[in-house]
Amino acid sequence: MELNFVSVEGNSKNYKIALGILGGLTLLGLICFGLSYTKGHYLFGSSNVIPWGMPIVLAIYFIGLSAGSLILSTLVYVFGQEKYKPIGRMAVLLAIALIFGALVAIATDLGRPENFWRLFMFFYWNNMTSMFAINTILYGGYFVISIAYLGIIFSGSKLWMKRWGCLAIGWAAMVHMGTGAIFGFMAAREAWFSPIKPLEFLTAAVTSGVALLIVVLVLTMKFTGRDLKKEMVVSLSRLLIVFICVLALLIFLDKMTHLYAPERAAVLYSLTGKYSWIFWCLQIGLVIIVPLAILFNKKLKSIKWIFIASLSVVVGIFFERFFLVIPQAAFPQQYYPGHIEGVYGAIGSFPITPVEMGMSLGIVTMVGLLFLLGLKFMKALPEKTPEEVAAAAAKTAPPTTEVPVKSDAPASAGT
């Protein structure tokens, strides 16, 4: 079956309202970033104990979603799973918007963002033993590769789609394992130090990628009035089950490795201390228990319930990142045997500050904005079937016909 792709027309009221809201919030984020840049990072919650805050949480979350989303799109273009074809382009578009958001998030977390370019002076002004510098190559390359990939998909060359897709899938996996290594290789941070971190990150990335894809798929198809095939969502949800199970296993192994070794204070604190509810309720609950309970329940095999389960995973993975970056860094380091008194032995605190939250919100909405604009200027959505068009025409008085692609729309990439 030949499948044509179209762009959304972008003239409907809902589209414009969404664009306005997202644009406004992005502007708010920009203002917050300006404040933090001029006044300093004391406006954030981070401190010398918990060095990284919300921007880094968002960055690794977005990188995960992006890598997962791109890996998913290769199901279509590399492994020839034709049934996923309607979402292939959208997945790549989403991956690009997300990696851009992640790079922006990292840049906003830097104390001197104007020195960002130094990260790209590979091998010259870069210290290549740093995981962060190695990841700059991975992220930068990933950004370029995924844009080229989208171009190739639009050009429609099957052979190159396959070749470039292979590169993209490998690179995406490396990107996320590299991100895991940023945390997993830090011997000084007991709760992070783990060889399993890269794999855990990769699995979390794919899990959240599938879940996000289901969420975006259902939402986009609903709001643009397209017909969603139930079999596709169900088969995606089966994938989701597999990934969640692997992720659960890896989390279990990671925690057990830390708990078994005698030096377990930091991990024990993170699992039983003041912020452990984030782990048990928001991470384990939302990523593993709720979705599995829904997906294994035969009575709940509808698009609505799968949507809820996926949403729960997407939100839960966010809190997994949050838990990793903030509460797990809060435990003080053991500089000297014994109990360290005073501020140097105190558990770190992380106040939720308005500037940081505003900036984070701005980054999230910026990604949404990019995605919406991408849908308008690129032919990423599958074309409506004649029956759907008829149904839409019957439902709304001024029919929003989207079949004829606007010829005056700015050229989509790769065409």
Binding site: Y37, K39, G40, H41, Y42, S46, S47, N48, V49, P51, W52, D109, L110, G111, R112, P113, N115, F116, R118, L119, W125, N126, N127, T129, S130, M131, F132, A133, T136, I182, M186, A187, A188, R189, A329, Q333, Q334, Y335, Y336, P337, G338, H339, I340, E341, G342, V343, Y344, G345, G348, S349, P351
Partner: protein, 228 residues
Amino acid sequence: MARWGMVIDLDKCTGCQECTIACKEENNVPHGSPEEQRRRQDPYWHKVIAASEGEYPTANIEMVPMPCMHCDNPACVQVCPAKATFRRNDGIVMQNFRRCIGCKYCLVACPYGARAYNYKEQEEEEYNRIDPPLRRDLIGCWPFPHRTHGMVEKCTFCFHRIEQALMEGKEIGTEVVPACVEACPAKARKFGDLDDPNSEVSILLSNRDAITLREAMGTKPKVHYLTK
């Protein structure tokens, strides 16, 4: 080339914090408000921690002054993506403010919490140190004392004193020492060349039981502690 190191006698240390104050004066490290100290957002280059062990009748508190350990195998240098942190040939681990991008990865990697991030624009009025003329061929880019927010700072072993002493031909370790060593009222701290077998630090290390902190990290610190 010398390999500068420090020896701190825990038996002599009284925990008076004079070293911390001297460091703040010498290097113009901001004091920070109580709120900033509670939130751990104040820059510090030197700290004195108190480690307690045991219960009341047999309780013991050990005061451990902690400058930067100036490791021979520094974790911070390994992770700095921008080459802003580097180890000089004489073993001092330095921070180049012009290169620092403020990613705080070194804060994450340092096992000694020796690094601090500058969270806001600091006042510079208190600064009254007479700097030697900048010898950029010797010390590279060193924009201090001007500090901007958004960068990581750390102890420098008072390298400006060492540079000046080298230029003037004074003996380091006896005539010229870092500010914290100079200020210590109990004479618990010694500074000198670890590679020179006749230096005071080498003699102390060979005669007394010495430890370094968190040896399992493999960082090979150059700040040694003499045990009680």
